[in-house]
Assembly symmetry: C2
Homo-oligomer: 417 residues x 2
């Protein structure tokens, strides 16, 4: 079919068909609630899957000095090695390599540099008291990276096999861990300017040793609700961890910072079905998901976060918090909700003394307590007394999750390497 | 102010303040109609502007063979050289270089590869009958690149100076021209994973010799209206020429191609103020702007295209078509409109025999005639008789614009190098 289509295209046009389209891609119906829109899958049966047995490791001859744990800055220094795998549309996944950390040599026409063919993940490795290195829910990161990659016509891969490669990479870099931020990244490497699905890609992993996020204890942050720019839209790509979602967010964050806030809060203006009024729905904060703890007018405590409607990044920590809340807070009488909620609702809860606490969630910080939100000229206090930096639920969530991450609590989410 | 803000940030956080924020960034009011959102400007008086006199040129010792004009494929082969300029937040623009075309050496943590700090332009150089090389409205491309760049916290530059560099680059590459596609691209080059404004960038230009877009005459294309994904939205970055706007568009284009259409047509679903009904507003086609010629129910001919509301790329050819239409079609009785219009309006005009022609516009093709649009299960004929590949207005626009581009008509838009 692709070849007959190709003959329909005007010569010299930017062909969209630089690679064969398999027949299994079906027509989609109008549904903005479907964040799973995928490329015709590149993981053709003819193409090679990732082959663990082909891994080639070349160790560095100039190992780096370790930086003291308390002097580490997030993402600024990297370990000795990197893991990389090339993919081509003709062959599939080529042999994986662990090599010394080194520059990539890219043709200036490479499509990642022009059209943002790039998707990434953020993960961490932790060393427990017995010296065992652990990953946290790596299957979730693999599933999300595959979904992100497919959404922009980059290849997918077998997540379990890739986790085995990650484990080997962590073994090689073990001396950098008590905790290590791991960054898998996939980029399109086709060297032509026609806008189409990349015929080649590079999946690589680098890692940055990280210190404690809050070395001197929690510091609650202030947020500015952004009312002049919108991060994501139904039918867009806001649910995927694409490079494309990040650069456009910097200016609003800088503007929030300039007005004295730590981060910006992303809203989505929409009609509230219940009232027919336009409202500012709360979505995400900076690069984190957002949770609010509110006492309802019925006196019941509710932990809420925005639903996965395609405009919210599907955070692994978000998912973990929801699961832990359902397991451990619901028996205490809490209601746990994935639902749309508005700034008006937050402001009213604050006015009536019902806003208990607000926090962000993400891989880097696990949780980030929020002191206040600036919205439409007012500053909403989020329930923290002036002399406290963290609320009770926020603190408990961090303790629970870090307990699992560092193996203090044995849990299926923590995967030993 | 920035330093006092910095002290408020939690240690080890992803600082958003890696570079000094000047005081001139003012608060913005809620206005999704403002596509001009800019970064705190990096072109600080302390920083160096581009200095033309510092240009260093190193010619290749291995010039490429010229490919016959009719065998050229868009964006597949490149000229002998590239132009490049580095920028740093501390110094500003460093000396420009013309060097042999060569790979970039990028740290795998470089921010363009993770967060899509990238913006580009598409321009063309043409040789007229007397052998004079010309650019078409390069000031428009410079203005747009600066706007795109500022929107994602990349540096801006003096457009006139950069045009002088482009001219010099074209002189060096003159042997590749009767027509040359020129690709300025700017990328963030900071080598850290913290999400913040890049502290360094690279602005570079590569060029691809191109043949005629329609070597055997016009070929009208078919479009599939995409109803399951959205390209751009109010408050987003759809008006800027960012890499971030391209990768997410590939899958819908592949799906349209698989169903036998040449390209997809982007819609924006919104309430029509006049009727209160939800409608599919027409925005852009693939990587082009879209125009429709309709006879109104009052018998008056109207050339229409979507307005610059922040969801439409501000095409240079789009702007040129509007200007020429106002100058040359309005005296013939045409109405020329930048206004929102719906698929329903197009379908009704087609049903009533009032749809005259539809065409896309962009730098590569200038104009692309549209034969039909698939929308909600029906195929709308766009006014072209079966035995014709182009409508009259489309053809006249191409002739007018190419006449100016190739210097057959002297016009201020055509800039001699």
């Amino acid at each position: 079919m692709a070849s007959s289509l190709r003959s329909l295209l005007p010569r010299s046009s930017n062909s969209l068909l630089t690679r064969q389209l398999p027949a299994k891609c079906l027509a989609q119906r109008r549904s903005y609630a479907t964040p799973n829109l995928q490329a015709p899958d590149a993981s053709d049966a003819k193409l090679k899957a990732i082959d663990l047995s082909q891994l080639q490791t070349t160790k560095t001859t100039t190992p780096k000095d370790l930086i003291p744990h308390d002097q580490l800055i997030f993402g600024r220094t990297f370990t000795d090695h990197m893991l990389s795998l090339e993919w081509t549309a003709g062959e599939g996944w080529l042999a994986p390599h662990i090599t010394p950390y080194q520059n990539l040599s890219l043709d200036p026409a490479t499509c990642v540099l022009h059209y943002a063919f790039e998707a990434f993940e953020g993960m961490k490795a932790y060393k427990d008291k017995s010296g065992q290195v652990r990953l946290f829910r790596p299957d979730k990161n693999m599933a999300r990276l595959n979904k992100s990659s497919a959404r922009i016509a980059l290849p997918t891969f077998d997540g379990d096999t890739f986790i085995e490669l990650l484990k080997e990479f962590c073994r090689v870099e073990e001396r950098f861990i008590p905790s290590l931020y791991i960054r898998p990244n996939i980029i399109g490497t086709q060297r032509t300017l026609g806008v189409g699905p990349p015929g080649s890609a590079l999946l690589y992993v680098i890692a940055s040793p990280v210190g404690p996020y809050y070395p001197t204890g929690f510091k609650a942050i202030s947020l500015e609700a952004t009312t002049y720019a919108v991060r994501a839209w139904p039918g867009g790509v806001g649910a995927s961890k694409l490079g494309a979602n990040y650069a456009p967010c910097i200016v609003p964050q800088m503007q929030a910072a300039q007005r004295g806030f730590h981060q910006n809060l992303w809203l989505f203006e929409d009609v509230d079905g219940a009232t027919g009024r336009k409202e500012d729905f709360v979505t995400e904060v900076g690069t984190m998901n957002l949770f609010a703890c509110v006492v309802g007018r019925d006196g019941r405590k509710e932990l809420m976060t925005a639903p996965l409607d395609g405009t919210i990044l599907e955070g692994v920590v978000r998912d973990s918090i929801l699961a832990l809340a359902r397991e451990r807070l619901v028996p205490e009488g809490w209601k746990v909700s994935e639902r749309r909620f508005t700034m008006r609702e937050i402001a009213e809860a604050a006015d009536e003394g019902r806003l208990m606490e607000v926090f962000g969630s993400g891989t880097a910080a696990v949780v980030a307590p929020v002191r206040s939100i600036g919205w439409k000229g007012r500053l909403i206090g989020c329930g923290l007394p002036e002399d406290r930096e963290v609320g009770e639920v926020t603190k408990r969530m961090k303790d629970w999750i870090e307990g699992i991450q560092y193996g203090e609590e044995e849990h299926p989410w923590s995967v030993k390497i």
